[in-house]
Amino acid sequence: MTPERWQQISRIFKSAISLDSEARAAYLKAQCSDDDSLRAQVEELLASHQRAGDEDFIGGLAAEAAAPLLIDDDAAGPTRPTLTKGQQFGSYVVLDSLGAGGMGEVYLARDTRLDRTVALKVLSSDISQDKRRMQRFRQEAKVASSLNQPNILTIFEFGEVDRLTFIATEFIDGETLRHHLHGKRLKLPEVLDISIQVLAALDAAHDARIVHRDIKPENVMIRRRDHVVKVLDFGLAKLTEKKVSQDEEESEAATEFKTAPGFIMGTLNYMSPEQAQAHAVDVRTDIWSTGVMIYEMVTGVIPFSGATTSHTIVQILEKDPVPLTKVVQAPAELERVVAKAMAKNPDERYQTAKDMLIDLRSLKKRLDIDAEIHRTSSPDTPAHEVDTDPGRRIVLLLALIAMAVVTASIFAFSVWRSRRSSPSSSVTTPVAPPVERTLTYWITVQKFKDGQKYQAPFTLAGEINFESSYHIRVHIRSPEQGYLYIFNEGPPTAAATTEYVVVFPSTTANNNSSLISAGQEVQIPEKSWLEFDQQQGVEKLWLVFSKDTVAELESARQAASPQTKNLIADAGQNKVVGDFLAKNSIAKPEWEKGPSLTTIKSPGNLLVYAIKLEHH
C-alpha cells in the first residue's frame, strides 16, 4: 500500500467510524464514488475495528501478555539451580539432563540406596515455595501413584535437598505420544490400544476422585520395549492453576487460568470448554481432552487450533469439528465415541471414563473379530494353508460368527446404555468397506518479500487465488496403500500438445517409486518451495492414485529426467498422459473441503483429480 493510499483510507475511516450504519454507507458511497477497491478496504478496516473491539484485541498490556515468557526466562537464568552430570544430589547421582521447562528440570538419575534408575524432577523454587499448593499436589500425586495402576507413572519419592524440591519417579525409556505422533496419523488398532490404556489410568484415578486436568499427548508416554502407555503428572496441572481467591482453595471451585487479559495458561488445544472459560472442572474435563487426543491420533489434525489463543478458545466453545469419518476412513462407531467425548456440554459427554473405556474395548474386540473373519475367509490365503475339510471350515466360521454375535450384543448393550437420549441411532453391522480411493491434501504457503521469507508459513485446506510472491508446498496422504503419480500442467499455451512435468515420483521424491504406503505423507516439493512462474493463469497439479500400478504412466514418466527438469520430453508420451487424464477424469470424484484439509474420494480403484492453482 502506498502512503498516499493509506492516508486516504485513514481519512475516510476516521470520519466513518463515528457514523451509524446508514449514514456510514452514504458517506462511504460519497467518498469512494467509483473506487470500489478503496471502499472495500475501508469497509474491511471498519469490520476489523468492530471485531478488534469485541475481542479486546491488544486491550491489555504487552508486558502482561508476555509475563509467562519472562518468568520462564527468569527460571532459565543464571539464578537457577542446575544439577550437573555426576553430581551427588541426596541419595541420587545425576546421570544426564533430560530437559527443562517452566516448572523445573528433569534429570536421569541413579538412586544409590535402591540401585535403580529414576527420573528426577527438580521443581523451580517459585513453584515449590507455595507450601499449601505443594502440599495438595503431593497429596494428589501420591494417591494417584499409590493406585498401582500400570498405566499411571509411579512416584517413588518427594523430597528436598539443599532447599530444592524434587520428585523421583520411575524412568520410562520411551517417547511421549507427542513425539510418537510427530504430525502423522496412527493406525486404528494403535489408536485404540493407546486410548484404552489412557482411559484405564483415568478410570482408576477418577475412582480415587483425582482429576488429571491436563490430558494431552505431551503427558502420555509410550514405553519403547512393550508399548505400555503411562500417563504422567497427575495433580501437577493444579500447580499451574491460579485460584480466584484463597477462600475457594478447598471448595474445588472455579480455577483461574487467566494470567493476563487475553492469555490463558496451559496448553489450550486440549482444554475443555469449561476449562477454557475458567469454570469448575470435574472428571468430565479429562473425558473431553481424551476425545480431542483420539481425534488427533486418528486424523493427524488437532480439532481446535486457531491462529491465536483467542481464536482457539472460540473454536473450543463454538466449533463442531469435522466428523472423523469425513476426514479419514474410520468406523462410524469410533466417530460416535469421539463426538460424545467432545460434547460441549459436560452433561452430554460420557459421564465416566469407565463408560468410554467399555465402548472402546468393545469396538476393539469387534475389529479384532472382523480381522479374524477377514483373514480366515480371505481368498488371498495361499492354497496350502486352505483348510480342505469343508466340515471343519464351517465349524470354524460358525464359531467365529457366534463370537461376533456375542460381542455385537455386548456392544449393542453399551451403545444402548450410552445412547438412550438418541433412539434413532442404529448399531452398525460390520460390512466390507466399499471399493474406493481416498486422498487428502493441504497446502503450506510461505510468503516471500524481496527474495526473503516473510512472516511465518501457514497452511490452507485447499486452493485460493495465490499471489505471485507466495511459495507453496502441497501435502498429500491417503489412508490406503497405492500407486501415486503427480503431473504438473502449466497454464494453456498455443502449443499443439500439452506438456507435463512429472512431480511425483522422482529421484528426489519417494526414491523414484510410485508406491506409497497407507498414511505416508507426500510433500511436494520435499525441501524447497513451489514457485509460480511469471506466466499468470491456472496451473494444474494432476493427482492419479491407483490401487495397481498404471503401465502407461510408468512408461511415460521414463521420458522425464533431472536433465529435462522432469519435463516429459517426448510428444508421444505427453499425449499418452494427456489422454489418460482426459479419459479418467470424466468421473468427477467427490471432494470435501474441511477446515484444515481437503478430502477427495472416488469409487473404484482409480482416482484422478486436478488441484487448480490459480495465481496472479
Binding site: M1, P3, W6, S10, F13, K14, I17, Q41, E44, L45, S48, H49, R51, A52, E55, F57, I58, L61, A62, A63, E64, A65, A66, A67, P68, L69, L70, I71, D72, D73, G77, G99, A100, G101, G102, M103, G104, E105, V106, D126, D130, I172, G174, T176, H179, K216, E218, N219, D233, L236, K242, A260, M265, G266, T267, L268, A307, T308, T309, F458
Partner: protein, 193 residues
C-alpha cells in the same frame, strides 16, 4: 534522595536527546534497558505470587531510580516514557524470540514439565507477529505505530501519550482505533492486503 552519578548522567543525556542529539539516545539506551530488564524480572517473580505486572509502575520506578528528581521536567519525563516503551517492546520481543526459536527439540523425552515452555512459545509467536506488523505500520505511518507502542508496550494512558507526541487526546484515540483495526487485520489474515 541522594543523587547518584548515574542519575546525573541519565538526566543530562535525556536533556541532550530532547535537544536533538541522537548519540545521547545511543548512550541512554543500554542504561535504561538494563534497569528496566532488572526491574521487569523482579516484578515478574513478584507476579508469581499473585501480583500483576504493571508496566507503568515499573517504568515509573525506573524513572525515579534513574532520573535526577531535582531537575525534573515534564519533557524529561515524557521522553523517558517514550524511550522506555520502545525498550520494553525490545525486551519483550527479545524474550519472545528466544522462546519461539530456541528451547525446542532435543532430549525432551520424559519431559512433560516442558508444558510451560510450549505455552510461552505460543504467546511469544503472537507477540512477534504483532511486533512485525507494527514495524510495517511504522513504515507507512510512524505516529500511529508510536501510539500503539506507547500504549501497549509502554503502558501509557491517552493523556500521557498526547503529552509525549504533542497531539490532542482525541487524535490519540483516533490513531489508536485505526492502528488497532489495521493490526487486527494483519494478524488474523482478514482483509485483502
Amino acid at each position: 534522595m541522594t543523587q547518584s552519578p548515574r542519575q546525573h548522567e541519565i538526566t543530562a543525556l535525556l536533556a541532550e536527546w530532547r535537544e536533538g542529539n541522537q548519540s545521547a539516545l545511543d548512550e541512554l539506551y543500554p542504561l535504561v534497558y538494563n534497569e528496566l530488564h532488572r526491574l521487569a524480572r523482579r516484578y515478574m517473580s513478584r507476579e508469581r505470587k499473585g501480583h500483576t505486572l504493571q508496566t507503568t509502575a515499573l517504568i515509573n520506578e525506573a524513572y525515579v531510580r534513574l532520573v535526577d528528581q531535582k531537575n525534573v521536567q515534564w519533557a524529561n519525563r515524557s521522553h523517558f516514557f517514550a524511550i522506555s516503551a520502545q525498550i520494553m517492546r525490545r525486551i519483550l520481543i527479545d524474550h519472545a524470540r528466544r522462546h519461539a526459536y530456541a528451547k525446542r527439540g532435543g532430549g525432551a523425552q520424559q519431559v512433560s514439565l516442558e508444558e510451560v515452555a510450549i505455552v510461552a512459545t505460543d504467546q511469544g509467536r503472537e507477540l512477534i507477529r504483532l511486533d512485525e506488523a507494527l514495524k510495517a505500520l511504522g513504515e507507512m505511518d510512524p505516529r500511529r505505530s508510536q501510539v500503539v507502542e506507547l500504549r501497549y508496550f509502554g503502558g501509557l494512558n491517552n493523556e500521557e501519550i498526547a503529552g509525549v507526541l504533542h497531539i490532542s487526546e482525541n487524535t490519540v484515540t483516533r490513531d489508536w482505533n485505526m492502528a488497532r483495526a489495521w493490526l487486527y487485520q494483519q494478524l488474523t489474515g482478514s482483509g485483502a492486503n
